[in-house]
Amino acid sequence: MTSHLLLSDVSKQFSHDQAPALDAVTLDVAAGSCTAILGPSGSGKSTILRVMAGLDPVSSGQVFVDGVDVGGLAPERRGMGMVFQRPLLFPHLSVLDNVAFADRVAGTGRAAGRRNAERYLEMVQLGGYGRRSVRELSGGQEQRVAIARALAARPRVLLLDEPFSALDPELRADMHRLIDEIRAAISPTIVLVTHDRDEASAVADHIAVLHEGELLQHDTVDAIYNRPRSLRVSRLMGGLNEVPGEVIGGAHVSAMGAVPLDDARRTPDGRATLVVRQEALAVRATDDVHPALPGVTEFAGVVAGIRHLGPRRLLTIALAGGAVELSAELPPGQAVGVGSPVGVTLPRAVVSTVPD
């Protein structure tokens, strides 16, 4: 169940008069890892999964599993397990026979197939549900059975196509835990497609950002959030802060002032935009009794707007007389209002620049 998957220069075009759904995508998924493919609607997320599974042929490029080109193989011979957004449990089969389907078509005896299926049902916490009709299950249970069915086929790579997007938040969190537990138990290689950034970071160890068929960045969760390779990635990951300026001698210089940069996070000297997550900014009311930490550069600003995000608040802070605006998330407890003077600190470890 743990295989290395490589897409090499894969393109997919459905018709000549349309833009390609996938444009020369190269994606390397390490064995046993979980990669989330993230992107907005129409970015080619589902297409990339269908191409991996062999449900759609590639227009050009190759798909390798453990170094072997599987491009010419039919879906049933690729060893890719697929779980769609809808569970797609076969309604004419019981829960157990759904999970035993792969063994049945593989020619395994009925009793052995069912015994095996029972093990996978236990893995998804549904031991004892085998004799039920699939129509007796709740939405979450259906999706668990769908995952058990895909795992029971012992796939080389497990492909999940927005499998939890139809579930409510509580159930989705349960499913995320289930994926963690499955990974801990059998370490399958997983490729998960989602449009939900939180889901991607909760489940996967790597994120691949796809936009209009182009793979913008494939990196660890931390790097995707804090070291985006482009403004598009930053925006797709929900980043709100972009400060145009110039990189000069290890610092980003803008109307706001000079922000020191880590060597690993900066672009060569020249025009560049500074990006920093709104969650990473430290905001302090300047009339606070606690002064800024020594050695930390703090920028003075004024709160220009406040929007509530549940218990947190998203502040819009005007700096340099309004020449620069930064967004910062503020935890509950700090008494600031519109017009309050604040000090903003940009921690060096989370500031990076992208070339203009």
Binding site: P75, V105, L126, E136, S138, A153, P155
Partner: protein
Amino acid sequence: MSIHASSLSAQPAPTPSGGLRLPGDPGTRLTDSRGARRAGRVLAATLLGAWFVAPLLPLALWAFADRWSFPSVLPTAWGTSGVESAIAQGAVPALWRSIALGLVVAAIATPLGAMAARALTLGTVRWPRIVGLILLAPVALPPFAAVMGLNVVLLRAYVPPLVGLVLVLVVIALPYTTFAMRVAYAAHDVRYEEEARTLGASPWRVLWLVHIPLVAPALARAAFLAFLVGWSDYVVTVIIGGGAVVSLPLVIASSAAGIGNDSTVAILSLAAVVPPLALLAVLAFAGRPRTHAQRVAFAEVHPGSHPIRVALARPHPAEPGAR
């Protein structure tokens, strides 16, 4: 291999309460009509029932009447001379021929209609509107005119009458099977089949293990319609068959053309009515959910039957025992 997580208990889902009545359920105040409305509803249902039964009642009486003189309300002499006469006129072999003809037409027109419907629904056909209209044409054309023209073609092409008869009846049945299957394929999700492929099933096994079971009810309905085309045809059997196939409608027609054959015609007519009704009953009962779980499932795939009860039947994930 099992995973233990305290947050993920797997208690069986609670069985939906069978005795609970909800607004919108049949028999509740929301749906139950009262007073004049109720009387109107009962009257309409009675008239509708009478509309269907009225033609069959005199047939049933005539079938076992040796004599029924006007103005008696009931037959004046009961007997089985009608049955004997019908058998003597070859009703039994004609009945078998009609059944065979209906089954052959259904066996050919159903898969053809299913294939056409699938192609039209999935968009794999160029100009689907035009193709759909062409498929509908046999219903729109006057059968006599079309059959007369076809007869000339078939005779010139040396097509044997029996083959020609089946061929033409299949063409007439195709619009019915195609459109019955189009409804099914419009609601069919091909990803079931894709899922089966990723689970290791070859296209052939997907067809038998997933595709056909999923569309089976629609296939049965389409086959029933195609059977009726073969079963009840008269014009095509007379003209294209050219006397090679004497089916039940032909025997009925020849008997009805005579005088004083009322009881024979009645028996033959009943014989023509019973098999389709029996098939319909089999279809209706075979498609009915038997267990409570099946009834819930049935309600789910037939929205509108018990929407609120179905929603309740699915335990909310946050409920204890839901997972």
